[in-house]
Symmetry: C2
Subunit: 222 residues, 2 copies
């Protein structure tokens, strides 16, 4: 049995909720804040923690704290990193003359898992959404322009020659891409965007009109 | 931006996994150990933690640690508690002469959420499963008999007059109930079990044979 102390670190009261000690009720409540986690899942997760060895539970507790303490954004590309400049920006194996612009760090990770892109990234930290109050100055647009205008601001001080838009294929992503394209016309960089069309493995029968329209418009020579 | 330190507390290496800093990969891995959490959910949860305020993230981290440090089993009933003896066992509002025997602390919590039972509990910490190697001595059976035989061992030193089996309605639960009933025949306590029958809100059309059989056998006067 564990050592017990009725005062837990951030609970002023230890009132029991229907047979649940306060720290258990509190953990369940914290788990329900996670995305996609409802009451039942949170309860299952809390009981798993209760049953787990103290070592396993503390490893999870520490992993959460570690992420907040040791992970931040790369000062060049805004990608997640536990260093000042991320491994992609500092790698001599990457072609820093090609910038792939994405909305979120998780888009970077998704693209990186494919393993075929050999350039570097620029994470905007969002997308333009005038109705939602997200304006150009809320995004990392100025630092993107700085990287293009001044090679010393880019990864490994390489001059940028191509900017690829890897924004989400929806209204906000398209709005953002159009805005950025406008900023880049006066600059001598090639501007491209990720291909749109039928998703691999899908069936035309079930494809939406927007997908089919992209597929027809962007048809490729065989 | 957060302060960063390339050495995190329990990671010997900070190797990047496809663009993910090691602490992020590590957190995702820890989340996938939770029940019902797959790779995608774990990634979503990790990104939520990354985006959350440091206070929110630390509250989750601490809630996990707190549960392990402050919650144990009641020395009388084995229910979860942050005290030596749980609030149910020590409450003068509960009738300690009626013991409801359950398999797991979470069964206790489920029954307690109904709010109608005014007796106390006894958690066996499992069910008999000879094939799975769970024998009577692996469960809290002796302490149950002690509570019945000696009022001083029971909640608030009250003599037990009724034992209700609240075991799961399946092979292992029934085996356990039969074994316990056998132990209790020589003792002057009433022995009952939770009612079985049609689950409220269900449709007879979809009920299994076992449910219908229980419903017929246990039919009640109106």
């Amino acid at each position: 049995m564990n050592q017990r102390n009725p005062k837990s670190s951030d609970l002023s009261s230890t009132t029991s909720v229907a047979g649940q000690p306060a720290p258990v009720a509190h953990l369940i409540q914290e788990f329900t804040r996670l995305p996609g986690i409802g009451r039942r899942s949170a309860e299952r997760m809390a009981f798993h923690v209760l049953k787990a060895s103290p070592e396993d539970a503390m490893r999870l507790s520490r992993a959460i704290a570690d992420v907040k303490q040791h992970v931040g954004n790369c000062t060049i590309c805004n990608g997640l990193t536990d260093l000042e400049i991320c491994r992609i920006c500092s790698s001599p194996d990457r072609d820093a003359s090609i910038l792939l612009v994405v909305e979120q760090p998780k888009d970077l990770i998704g693209l990186e898992q494919v393993g075929t892109f050999r350039g570097v990234y620029h994470v905007l930290m969002g997308r333009l959404d005038p109705l939602g109050g997200v304006e150009p100055e809320d995004l990392a647009i100025q630092t993107l322009l700085d990287r293009i205008d001044d090679p010393r601001r880019n990864s490994r001080e390489v001059a940028v020659r191509e900017v690829i838009f890897g924004l989400n294929p929806n209204l906000e992503g398209d709005t953002t891409a159009l805005f950025l394209a406008d900023q880049l016309t006066s600059r001598s960089v090639e501007v491209t965007r990720l291909a749109r069309g039928l998703p691999a493995g899908s069936q035309i029968e079930y494809a939406s009109r927007a997908v089919l329209s992209d597929a027809i418009e962007g048809r490729q020579k065989m």
